[in-house]
């Protein structure tokens, strides 16, 4: 039998962004996502002996997180009916209009679009995992957090030209990684 050593101290650095991206599209609330991920890590830590190493650590954590998300919705749904619904009509004339008509947006994304975008997000994160750590984190800071070039240069103590070289390498690797199925 092989020994699978789990290094939980590295979980936050390695998986928190992936898990956060996975959670936020499903729960839509930062605090809830944060709590669920934290619960996932603690649950993972508790049951680390059960990790057989058949799947990757990330897949295993995702399976715990999935349960946590389902539990979260179960809990929310069990409170159904207790909540008070208040309608605020924009004008007196609108009073009594169908709620569906008020929220309807014909240009909104379809369910398929949403699913596809969630999968695309996962695919991008999968490809980001293949990049060197520094490259991936600089790319994320620039692309997801929209940090200024100067701020990133100060953080990593690099010159702007170094930064653009790193960004270029990251983008080229990502493009080729995603090319087959997504671009």
């Amino acid at each position: 039998m092989t020994n699978h050593i789990i290094d939980a101290t590295k979980w936050v650095d390695r998986y928190s962004d992936y898990l956060y991206n996975y959670t936020i599209v499903r729960v839509n609330e930062h605090e809830v996502a944060q709590d669920l991920i934290s619960e996932t890590f603690f649950a993972g830590l508790k049951s680390s002996k059960n990790f057989k190493g058949e799947a990757s650590e990330r897949t295993w954590l995702i399976s715990i997180l999935k349960r946590k998300i389902i539990d979260h919705y179960r809990k929310t749904n069990s409170n159904k009916g207790k909540a008070e619904v208040r309608m605020q009509y924009s004008s007196e004339d609108a009073e009594g209009d169908w709620l569906e008509e008020r929220v309807q947006d014909p240009f909104d994304k379809t369910a398929e679009d949403t699913i596809e975008n969630e999968e695309l997000g996962g695919a991008i994160y999968d490809c980001l995992d293949k990049l060197p750590v520094k490259q991936a984190s600089i790319f994320k800071m620039k692309t997801i957090d929209n940090f200024d070039t100067e701020a990133i240069c100060n953080e990593y103590n690099i010159t702007p030209s170094n930064l653009w070289v790193i960004i270029h390498r990251a983008r080229t690797s990502l493009s080729s990684c995603l090319e087959e199925n997504w671009l």
């Binding site: 936050v12 991920i37 983008r171």
Partner: protein, 84 residues
Amino acid sequence: MKLLKKLFIDCETSALYCDKAQYNEATSMEKFQLKLHIVICKICRSHSIKNTKLTKACNKANLAKMPETDKAALKSKLEKEIGN
């Protein structure tokens, strides 16, 4: 002659301007030089198309990452738990 030299850039510079343009950090002059270059350079043209597709994909995916402050807090909580 000097002006022509300034207008026509090499492939390396074109790649840099192309990346800058993805983050809206290229100046109008840089964008113009890039456009001029990709008209004449097939390789850079295909790179530019791919690069723009990647930007679109990233925007479409609406990527999110955990804020650094939350990461630090979670890390220390986890380390505390491991220590116990």
